[in-house]
């Protein structure tokens, strides 16, 4: 005990002395134990922060893992283009040297590389995926890859193998290849060495032993290509020197002709231009497409007028979202005002009516609008019955913009009423009374005193409704027809029908950016601090 008391009061200052010490002390404030006050405050707050972090950690991890990361990955697809380089690595490599401005088709090295790449792609069944990908850029690519894929196994390249084996039977033995490419020959025969590695990997994937497999035709083709294209084999091995000397005399196989036989499109220079254009792993092509441009060998160009759709869709989406937000404001304001000024019991009852749509399925509500608005629907029937509309001139109120605006205004209305109500219910009625007692008419009191204070509610509701509207999908899909669909419907089409996820991701990224820009602009103009949701 004595130790403790001695320990807790080391300074043993009387209050008077302490005060004098404080006054004399001019440096940073110190805590009771002598550490700087800032430091000990930071330590005290750190524990609070850690605690807060621990409390939100489960949700944070959940959202990160299931939402943020997948969406980030999805958005990255808007620029990712690895599929070409992954499927046709040798072709992409050789094609990079090809001059696309000329009129000549690519040379022999490209054809050889394409032959080898295609063989692996076909075995792995990747060529159809690549075809689908490139078909977004050039129509016909998909069928070209499929047709070529069927033929690539039947090329006449077996003559190379026969000629090598005839020269030296050891060329038919995998062991001799393995031994050769393990040594200095690998440097002399780059294409052969790379292809041998791919062949080994392929066998490993298939569970086969490479040393028990016959040497495939494309390896002989690669070897032939290396040997006839200036391989430095002097002093590597006699067998190779002999092969090089003999290869010059071998009967060649014209791969370009073989491919042209498989599909005549491969003789089209546009195919090769497209392949070269989309060789890089990162492309701006999707973004160019989503703003009605296209990637060409000479840079980004506008698409022809008749192919421009996304600009119109973006503009329409923005315009309709604004109209929907505006009509929500007009309809919700009086309701919110009434709700916040009625006695509690009545207000609660009305609030249930406002919330009722939330408890009904979105599909049901949208379908109900379909029943209401269609040409043989309730509203038209009533109008005809009243004689306001002729039976043969029924109004078209659905499958157009009007229908989308009506249905979405109805569906999003609660999102406008609730924030408005929560703001308005905090405005005491005494403000209006004060304004009136000061001589303001009902309208002046409302407009100069009440309305400015309700603006935060309008702001919050508008942001909510606008952001919900701009990405809305189901309702425009059902009642939008051709003229009332949103950009989100197009995104959904590319996700689920055309499977062009890259374009969908680019469109989605643009949509996200537009919303963020609007959000930022709103913060500048109205101030996000002024937004109250409750």
């Amino acid at each position: 005990m004595t130790d403790q008391t001695a320990g807790t009061a080391p300074a043993g200052l009387s209050p008077d002395e302490a005060r004098r010490a404080d006054a004399a002390h001019t440096g940073p404030m110190l805590a009771a134990d002598g550490t700087p006050l800032k430091k000990s405050l930071a330590r005290a707050l750190r524990r609070q922060k850690l605690r807060a972090l621990a409390l939100i950690a489960p949700l944070l991890i959940f959202v990160l893992v299931t939402f943020v990361v997948p969406i980030g990955d999805m958005l990255l697809r808007s620029v990712q283009n690895g599929i070409v380089a992954d499927t046709l690595p040798e072709t992409v490599e050789t094609l990079s040297d090809w001059d696309h401005d000329g009129t000549a088709l690519p040379g022999d090295d490209v054809w050889t590389a394409f032959y080898i790449d295609m063989w692996f792609a076909v075995e792995r069944k990747e060529h159809t995926r690549l075809g689908t990908r490139l078909n977004y850029e050039l129509t016909g690519m998909s069928s070209m890859f499929r047709k070529t894929g069927r033929q690539v196994d039947r090329f006449d390249t077996d003559v190379y193998g026969e000629q090598f084996v005839a020269l030296d039977p050891s060329w038919g033995q995998p062991q001799s290849w393995a031994a050769m490419l393990d040594g200095p020959a690998a440097d002399a025969l780059p294409l052969t060495a790379r292809t041998w590695e791919r062949w080994k990997d392929f066998n490993a994937e298939e569970g086969d032993k490479v040393l028990e497999e016959d040497i495939p035709d494309f390896l002989f083709t690669a070897l032939y290509h290396d040997l006839t294209h200036g391989a430095e084999v002097e002093g590597v091995s006699d067998r190779l020197s002999a092969a090089k000397a003999a290869a010059a005399e071998f009967e060649p196989v014209d791969l370009s002709a073989q491919f042209a036989d498989a599909d005549e499109d491969l003789g089209n220079i546009d195919v090769w231009k497209t392949l070269q254009l989309y060789s890089p792993r990162v492309t701006s092509g999707y973004f160019a497409n989503s703003v009605d441009m296209q990637l060409t060998p000479d840079g980004i160009e506008a698409r022809p007028e008749n192919q421009q759709i996304y600009g119109i869709l973006f503009k329409r989406t923005l315009f309709m979202s604004l109209v929907i937000t505006g009509s929500c404001i007009l309809l919700a304001y009086p309701v919110a005002w009434l709700l916040s000024n009625l006695p509690m019991r009545t207000a609660n009852l009305l609030m249930i009516l406002v919330l009722l749509p939330f408890w009904t399925s979105l599909l049901v509500r949208t379908s109900a609008w379909k029943v209401m608005l269609q040409q043989q629907g309730v509203i038209n029937d009533v109008l005809v019955w009243l004689g306001l509309v002729a039976d043969d001139a029924r109004l078209t109120m659905i499958n157009n913009q009007f229908g989308t605006i009506v249905a979405m205004t109805h569906i999003l209305l609660p999102f406008m009423i609730l924030p408005m109500y929560s703001v308005m219910s905090t405005i005491p009625p005494s403000y209006l009374r004060a304004a009136k007692s000061l001589g303001a008419t009902n309208w002046t009191a409302f407009w100069r005193v009440y309305f400015p204070q309700s603006v935060p509610g309008i702001g919050a509701g508008s942001i909510l409704v606008f952001i919900l509207a701009i990405g809305y999908y189901i309702t425009p899909e059902i009642v939008g027809g051709n003229t009332g669909t949103f950009i989100s419907n197009r995104i959904a089409y590319h996700i689920s029908s055309s499977l062009n996820w890259g374009l969908a991701a680019a469109l989605g990224t643009i949509l996200l950016a537009v919303v963020l820009v609007l959000y930022w602009a709103y913060d500048k103009i109205v101030g996000i601090d002024n937004v109250k949701l409750g």
Partner: protein
């Protein structure tokens, strides 16, 4: 009272009734008139109808029956904004999105006053409440007392002849409240405006008003200047509501002119002044202020009745002593004595004898 209903009354309530639900009357048959320049306070517990009266005068509630007149003209059907009555609200109701100067300028703008006139008047009003330097601030940047001053200035800036105040000092702390009481009354008197002030704080009512109307149960229980209200309450509600008060229950034994004797429950007899008892045998509550109870027999008349009392508690309060006694079976009989040099401090358990002048003890309704 009769002289108050004549032609020079500035504000008049005539037989005014108010009901919200059609079943109960919140205000029952209110008759009230006040002359120009008077400071009248409506005092009463919550639910007594005082605020409803104020709201009817301001025009935010309509009278169910009866007539309210302002300067001789009935105003029942005039909307609030045309009545030209200044009003200070309980929570000030300063417009949060406007600066102080804009708040003050608002009533002038809606009256379409020119810009230079407006600025001059706003400045004058701000100077009047000593807030000249605060015109550019927002209400949220002011303290409660400052907001209160601005609310007062705003109610006065358009020079109304009548100002209504609905518990304007309720949100302030005690010291500030006392200061503002003084300030409000001096401004009101200097400007010569008529003021109707609503409060449930009796100290406020007594210190500020020319006359106080004590409300209870939808009626004015008594309308009188503060001193009369305190010293001559007309009924037991007023006696108990205003100030501290001792009540004893009893029966009138004898009445002669302006004195009577009352027999208490334990049989002892006291002197009192009959206020609203009329006949021998009436049940009565007698009321006596703690400071009017006398312990020194020499100061009483020789034939005065006295009561025996036992000291239960002695509380030292600085300027006064507060002593709780048991008198005639009642445990909460309180007397207050001044902390004077010759004043004895009573001990707990001490037996003393108390009495009073008959006119200080009022025999009221039971």
């Amino acid at each position: 009272m009769a002289d108050m209903t004549n032609g020079d009354a500035f504000v008049e309530f005539e037989r005014v009734q108010k009901s919200y639900d059609g079943e109960t009357l919140v205000v029952k048959d209110l008759n009230l008139s006040l002359p120009k320049g008077e400071f009248l306070t409506m005092l009463g517990p919550s639910g007594s109808g005082k605020t409803t009266c104020l709201m009817m005068l301001a025009g935010f509630e309509t009278a169910t029956h009866g007539e309210i007149k302002l300067a001789g003209k009935p105003i029942n059907n005039i909307p609030p904004h045309k009545r030209g009555i200044g009003m200070v609200f309980q929570n000030y109701a300063l417009f949060p999105h406007m600066t102080v100067a804009e708040n003050l300028s608002f009533p002038l703008e809606v009256r379409r006053m020119g810009k230079s006139d407006r600025e001059a008047k706003v400045k004058r009003a701000l100077d009047m409440v000593q807030m000249g330097a605060f015109g550019g601030r927002r209400p949220a940047q002011l303290s409660g007392g400052q907001q209160q001053r601005i609310a007062l200035a705003r109610a006065l800036v358009f020079e109304p002849e009548l100002v209504l105040m609905d518990e304007p000092l309720g949100a302030l702390d005690k010291q500030l409240r006392e200061h503002m009481q003084f300030e409000i009354t001096s401004i009101a008197h200097n400007l010569g405006i008529t003021t109707v002030y609503v409060t449930h704080d009796q100290t406020e009512a007594l210190t500020m008003s020319d006359r106080v109307a004590v409300f209870d149960d939808g009626r004015i229980q008594q309308l009188a200047p503060p001193d009369e209200l305190y010293e001559s309450p007309q009924n037991s509600f007023v006696a108990q509501f205003i100030g501290e008060n001792n009540t004893l229950e009893g029966t009138v034994k004898e009445i002669s002119g302006d004195t009577c004797t009352v027999q208490l429950a334990d049989g002892s007899v006291i002197d009192a002044k009959p206020v609203n008892v009329s006949a021998v045998g009436d049940k009565t509550l007698v009321s006596i202020r703690p400071e009017r109870v006398e312990m020194n027999k020499e100061r009483l008349s020789p034939d005065a009745h006295t009561l025996k009392a036992e000291v239960l508690e002695f509380i030292y309060m600085g300027d006064i002593f507060r002593t709780r006694l048991r008198v005639a079976g009642v445990d909460d009989f309180v007397i207050k004595t001044r902390n004077a040099p010759d004043q004895r401090r009573l001990q707990k358990g001490e037996q003393i004898e108390i009495g009073w002048l008959a006119e200080d003890c009022r025999a009221l309704d039971a």
